[in-house]
Amino acid sequence: MTTSQFFISAWSGNPWVIAGCAAALLMGGARFRPPTAWLLLATAVFFVTLCSPLDALADGYLFSAHMLQHLLLLLIVPLLILLGWSGRTAPQDLENGRWRWANWILRPPVATWLMGVGGMWLWHAPTLCNAAGSNVWVHHLQSASLLGMGLAFWWPIIGPRTGQRLAPPAGMIYLFTACLGCTLLGIIITFSPVEVCSIYLHPLDRLGILPLIQDQWGLTPAKDQQLGGLLMWVPACLIYFFGILGLLVRWYREPGPESAPAAATQPTLIEKPHGL
């Protein structure tokens, strides 16, 4: 099989994903008419993540493809969803409706931070990583949980309820520490001499693409893991990095967090008491 043949043929019509995409579009369309470009983009990325050849590769062949999927689900898709949401009316359900309990989870930034960063660490424990790579139901659970944890993670940064957002300086610390978290994991995976996910060591060649991957693309298991670690380390951090820059823009734009008594506007001198 050649590269182009593989990329044309390896699309799958996963009914769960298609149903999810359709539901997102219908719900989004019902709430916001017309659905925003962000929402369409989020749906498209979600579909590509789970139905394209990327998914075929992540399914037991390439650790790095799995990592890319992981990053898209945890960091990109939720970000796009929330970007589509911001500027719209805040969901009343969260205020006092039947989703009120979600507020308890989304309010403390420590909890959302732990979900965002912990999600990454948790699913790379060798046992869980192997389980997700070999059992389709664990894989679905992983995808769903990553999406949910990603939404929670971004909530205090660009959530629709502006009152619940972190102040920009605190938000920058939130994202910077998250970046440290994923850097660390990335470094450990990149430099680890042992396999993090042993199932990728000897892939079961269901599609007959192993020669393509290992010989033509030159992706040996060792290189593959290094690539995966680097994906977690560098591009993931760049996402946080651009988040921090976004917060800086917001910080310099907004008028000010509190209405403390303003300093005198005419050129008076403020005298300091002597002899402190």
């Binding site: 800086l248 001198l269 403020i270 402190l276």
Partner: protein, 743 residues
Amino acid sequence: MSVTVSTAPAVATPPTEVKLRGPYGWVATVDHKRIGILYLLTTLFFFLVGGVEALLMRIQLARPNNTFISPDAFGQLFTMHGTTMIFLVVMPTLIGLANYLVPLMIGARDMAFPRLNALGFWMLPFGGFLLHYSLLAGGAPAVGWFSYAPLSETAYAATAGTDYWGLALLVIGIGSVAASINLIATILTLRAPGLTLRRLPLFVWMVFINSFLVILALPFLNAAIVMLFIDRHLGTHFFVPAHGGSAVMWQHFFWAFGHPEVYIMVLPAFGIISEIVPVFARRPIFGYEFVAGSTVAIALLSFGVWAHHMFAVGLGHPMDMFFSATSLLIAVPTGIKVFAWSATLWGGSIRLTTAMLFAVAFLIQFTIGGLSGITFAVVPIDWQVTGTYYLVAHFHYVLFGGTFFAVLAAVYYWFPKMSGRMLSEKLGKLNFWMAVIGFNTAFFVQHFLGLMGMPRRVYTYADLPGWGLLNLISTLGAFLLGLSVLILLWNIIISLRRGRLAGDNPWQAWTLEWAATSPPPQQNFDRVPPINSRRPLWDLAHPENPDPAVGGRRSRDGFVLEKNRVGMVTFLVSESCFFLMLILAWLFYNSRAMTGPSPAGTLNAHKTGMYTICLLTSSAAIWLAEKQLRAGRHGWFRGLLGLTILLGGIFIFGQGREYLRIYHQGIVVSSNLFTTTFFTLTGFHGLHVCVGLILLLLLMRLSLAGDFKPGRIEAVKSISLYWHFVDAVWIVVFSVVYLKLLL
């Protein structure tokens, strides 16, 4: 003009100090201005030392096959020049300038911790002394400022020089971290009313960001040096490949520090330029937000690009690819700055004072250095030129043509404030032209030498076509540069005696330091002007046309921080980075197959687990103790504090017994990489527990002396924070070292 009495003066508690006269007054001072000047004088001295070392090397290199200096002496000069210039000159000069200027620019009376400030400074001459003491102890270090392992291991560098190199860097590093903690606490907690973070002068903002780089990056170096030291003195093999260690790890550790270090040496220089260019172009800086924001971007990216120093090591294509991309990316925020400065100049009414001339030269030379820097991000080019003089030319354009020209601009700009007298402009212009011609002559030709293939770090070279001539030109340029430094010295000496009196604000500048007298009084300000914008003195002089108030009329940031807490938290952040390196070393070395003792056969996880519970309980005890103290129940406080000390003591006793038991099995730190990393990691944690216990005992003594009257419990809060940190580190250490054995 009405006079309002400020209700919340942002001043440090001034140390109870009468102005001491004479030399003793300078030695005993805790005044940030005097300490700042001491920094600058010390670095000037070391600059002359490092400069002479450079000139000696240039004489040796002036012609091919020269025998002026022996290869070994060249190696020593080469190492001392690099180490001196980076750790004893550039970094402390910038810290010294920040020390002098930051409190003045934010309208504060002194730094947040004046005594810590003095400590930080005295670490510098001490470190310098240690480094040069090596000359008496068997020869200076000859391993390069990067001290690449395994060449810096005992087998290849047997003299004590390398040890003094490490000790000196540790001492200086502690001083730099102390200064940075102090700067962060000062900037966060002592700003005058109205000076919100978004109105900070750019120099202060960049020093602020830079201080975070220092506290995060320096521990990487310290951890690496500690490991090298253990290798050299306890016979271990962290960095000896022949015994299972990894020499490449040294490079990772070193450059994980080394690349942020590049920005540590250049960010404050950016700040200087951002102050000087607007004043002499008579326009506010173009795009303040972009200059400030790009600083944050540079600081963040600087941690993710270090591997470009290691492309030639052979890290593999995936690593090269990603680090090439990030290294190219970091050029963007740097470029934004250059554009902002250029746009500030555009259409301004430029006054070409000496300070401005140096700033403009900075702009051009730094851009050249930056552009040649981008070429190193491209892997194939890097492979070709990384070992050549092209690289020498590149980093001298950044550090000398960039940072040092900015420092000279700062000297000409702020000397009037520090001394009360103007430097001579005539000598200044002479100084400038000689420096600019000398510098470019010395270093521009090195680009060609490098591209022609002349290797760097060599004591001599073969007589190949063109090499001799270009090297001679370079040497002549270096001497012209040296001459320009003498002119600067002469200018300083005569201007101190006969210079024109400066007055408060000789340049009609806009930031707060120019509102104080020149030199400023000990308390800096009697009155701080009102601050509504980024240029308070402009507003004062032009009440009819003030700058727009940044952030509306809000005069405060949305948060209030307490300085002791800020100091302790930043210190602990720095400590975390140190432990992070030790933990990563543990993970890396223990994931590889090795012979000799293994964790399962050596460690007693159950017993240690018990002692761990003691340590964790002690955290709860001190938390309760703090609560009791806040409620004013001193007896309860002492009881719980005693319990904390007892529990901490039990833990350290348990660790001691475990060590002893292991030792009796004949297992020592040098047995294999497991024992090396185990003893290093738990040993450093134990050391921290001991320090914590001493601090807790001190608290007990203070409490018995009745020191914690209500409302004065910052010391308890800070030390309990430290104790929680020690426990938190142990949780991580226990998880990575022991948990696997329990499961």
